[in-house]
Subunit: 236 residues, 2 copies
Amino acid sequence: MAKVDTSLVAHLPLFTGVKPEDLEEILREARSARYPKNTAIFEQGADAQSFFLLLHGHVRAAKTTPTGEQIVVRYVAPGETFGLAMAIGAARYPATAMAVDDSVVLIWPNSAWPRLIERFPSLAANTLQTVGARLQESHTRILEMSTQQVEQRVAHVLLRLAKQSGKKSDHGIEIDFPISRQDIAQMTGTTLHTVSRILSGWESQGLVESGRQRIILRDPHRIVVLAERTADSGPA
Amino acid sequence: MAKVDTSLVAHLPLFTGVKPEDLEEILREARSARYPKNTAIFEQGADAQSFFLLLHGHVRAAKTTPTGEQIVVRYVAPGETFGLAMAIGAARYPATAMAVDDSVVLIWPNSAWPRLIERFPSLAANTLQTVGARLQESHTRILEMSTQQVEQRVAHVLLRLAKQSGKKSDHGIEIDFPISRQDIAQMTGTTLHTVSRILSGWESQGLVESGRQRIILRDPHRIVVLAERTADSGPA
DNA sequence: GCCCGGTTTTGCGCTATCGCAAACTGCAAG
DNA sequence: CTTGCAGTTTGCGATAGCGCAAAACCGGGC
């Protein structure tokens, strides 16, 4: 197992307030692994045995109902942790994690967690902050689902993805991992059909350019306007 | 300021792993306050200066959009913390907290938080667990909003409220704080009209008994069935 | 270069739910 | 007891978005 260079991860929010020599000790407890595109990292309901830090790639966390419907909880970007079941007191993973691109992760055994937070309390504090931030995002998402219509929600999601994982390309921002209409539907509480219609509409207005699992925001500013538009404040 | 009896709070999840003498020290930093029914404890967007532990009563946390729509984030039951902005790294309260019943709370100044978690790391760990639990509940709520129809969502919410704050009465479980149709609408992402229609329907089937800000589940079991029913698995 | 399967597009009817409006009700204050 | 008002009920028309079905499309694998 290759040793992880501390300089690659030292600046991450998770490690703020951790001394370099401590960081090294923390990293010694982890191993790294590579997951090819479209492989599962863990499954919803499985015994939680590890927690993860994404180094490269992108991971989709999705939750499935007993009847098979899915929602995308979030996309994990490099530098973010995921699978923190142990930290939040869950014995099993509440969602499925899947690499949507070739991905590299650091993996700590759950058994290391209690020891780590005892020796390095900043870890607990930092984790609390990131989990808190996710909680707020969830609340925002609930608020949006309750008060906005589908088009605005899709606009918000695309803007959020662009901010989190946008790659500036010629005349636009491209979401730099493969994402389908279906995925967006599962992030906004709608169907892939409706998402497709909306994107088609936007494409014909030059707002976006999109194709197979690929979306480029050509005119982010006008999309922001769309996102913020109230139901009744539309055009003539 | 009256001194708080440690025995009243020692068993709370927040304080698991805290030694009795430490608990006393923690409580010394708090003051207690009483909020009459329908008074605000803090407002969304205000500078977060304190965090809270509810001792008696019930508190509604609600989030408002720029355009005035509201959702109920959650109802706080006695023994639960709220207003943890500082802990999760927010400078302002992300929601408004309102006493829905005469309520008594413990209040710590935010400035005490860093010191407390340094001296008593279990506090951070415990808080992480409760925030994590709330995050999972939020995800469940998003899942429900995405995949279920309104009637099922209302059923789920009532069952959740009954479990959290249900008082067994003659032949049923009564939600033991005032809650309006509007509140339920704001918890389920619908309108008070639709909630009213649903409850009327249930009432005529003997599932619930309800009135002005008051709901009694007469037949929880059948409500569970409703909650779990798939869109197409209905009766003839 | 061709074929296959997953993805996307689009049409069309349907319906759950909204939105508005109006009437009703019961608690609480005076 | 009366009155006022917040909360609730109910009717009715409007519609956003779903669900199903079919066709078109695209990219990668062989």
